[in-house]
Amino acid sequence: MAQLFPKWTNRLPILVLAGLVFLLVFIVFIFWYYATPKYLEVGYRPEQPVPYSHKLHAGDMGMDCRYCHTNVEQSAHANVPSTQTCMNCHTNVATESEKLLLVRESWASGKPIEWVRVHSLPDYAYFDHSAHITAGVGCESCHGNVAAMEVVEQKKPLSMGWCLDCHREPEMHLRPREDITKMNWTPPPDQMDFAKKIIEEKNISPPTDCSGCHR
């Protein structure tokens, strides 16, 4: 019988096998890396209608988050302030600023400013701000150091796995109530003792079953 295949084809089976394994791992890696919120959503930084600077207000001037986001401790939803909240100060401060033109217009007309939502969870995920604040999870844990941001952007993936990381081991993310809005907070050396105490006191048991968030 004549030779059908040249000699190098002897190596073909092993090459094909290795190639298939590589391809499989590669595909899984591509999806695992590129098709997750860690890659797709972190860094989302939409342009807002008014160039409001969190860095100036919350950082340099040291305003508390809750001056504007007033309901965050009581309600599931952390409200975006109404124009009136802006005008509390801006009737006196920078009254002629061109950047604030839209704010004054809105105040005069009564039509709200259409802020662009940065942190958006899917509708099928139920998230309650007040529950997290009450437990002692700081703003920074999910939103990053907002007080350092000129323009707010998404810093954390907000993926389900990321939520679960904290729901399974909340210890390093719980603070005393007075430090809730503090930025650049780092857990003190005795954090574990504190966490143990507070978890027992407040009976904190973050749900990890489906219906915890998908109600």
Binding site: L4, P37, K38, G161, L164
Partner: protein, 461 residues
Amino acid sequence: MLDNTPLVLGNETFSSITDHISSITERKAPKQWYLLLALASSLALVLFGMIGYLFWEGTGIWGIQNPVGWGWAIVNFVFWVGIGHAGTLISAILFLLRQKWRTSINRFAEAMTLFAVLAAGIFPAIHVGRVWVVYYMFPLPNQMQMWPNFRSPLLWDVFAVGTYFTVSLLFWFTGLVPDLATYRDRAKTKIKKMVFGILSLGWRGGNRQWKHYEMTYLLLAGLSTPLVLSVHSVVSTDFATSVIPGWHTTIFPPYFVAGAIFSGFAMVMTLAIIARKIYGLEHLITMKHLDNMNKIILLTGMIVGFSYGMEFFIAWYSGNPYEQFAFVNRAFGPYAWAYWIMVSCNVLIPQLFWSRKIRRSIPAMFIISIFVNIGMWFERFVIVVTSLSRDFLPSAWDYFTPTIYDIGMFIGSFGLFFTLFLLFVRFLPMISMSEVKGVLPQADPHYYDHEHDTRKGGQHV
């Protein structure tokens, strides 16, 4: 007691077997083949068309409703997986038990297994509704850190059926290698030479190759043997681990396995009878083979019948009124017609095989094998639908009626199965040439016969 009927009739030699089997794929296909393929592939198209509509419209096109959330899709799945079992039984267990009569039927029984498992696999995949996230069934790393529920038998199914298909495919392919090499050597065209050359993995038939080959085959047979029992056991746990009366019984795994072998042999029988007739293989698939298979059908049919009886006994013995109701409802409720079709086809009709005359009558066994196939489909229908349609809450009771899509997809799955099978028959050796040669009298020459004065070789008579 020993049956000395030869396994190959006629005056076949090594080369005549090669010629005979190879020529089936080398010469033009008979007219019946084209007719059957046209029919089968049109039905397969019906299946694919309906699947397309299902994806578009959703599972509401089926007859499923509350409380019957599992309809024909699951019935068909269990039916087809069950049919697959005969192939593995013939190829693995009968091989380990050195039942030489398996040689002429194992190849196409294994092919039948693969195609049946393929037909089966379609149904659980499409019944999920959101088919585009069907990959959730596999444990893939994802941002949700969400894994399939490893405590759910539905997941065990994915692994059981997946393993089963993979091992069956490997086993079938390993068995094919020497025959593919024969095809390669006989091939006339360059393309055929290349294709069979690649598939035969450089087989030369040397001594060392045969040694490795036979060890591999033995190991694969050992690997697939537990699968014959495990796959349908796992399928049965889909039902048995639930709390529905009529499903929640420990007898399910052995009862399902026996039923699977029963239905699988019936399907092998149906196919074998047609194939040996069309291709003139009566001397290779002899009456002895058919007789043996009929005996297995008779045996497994009685195991299945015993299970039906035992279910009733346990329902009564358990003292559980729900369990008792479920079984009385099966036999005398709104689905009594299905129950009695099942009992007649699976328990009563196979009893005819006690008669040697019927076991050896081609028309009789063909008809009985079809009855068994029908009966086994109804068995799954009875299990799935009767228990669900009358559950704990009488206010929820309802009668299940299939829609045209239920029926079309079931018939279409036969189309897919037969299309694949016909293509297999056309392009690959449907009988294992190398193994059949091994059971020829010429393969066992007794040159070492010292008891006689004359030392000339010869056949053992």
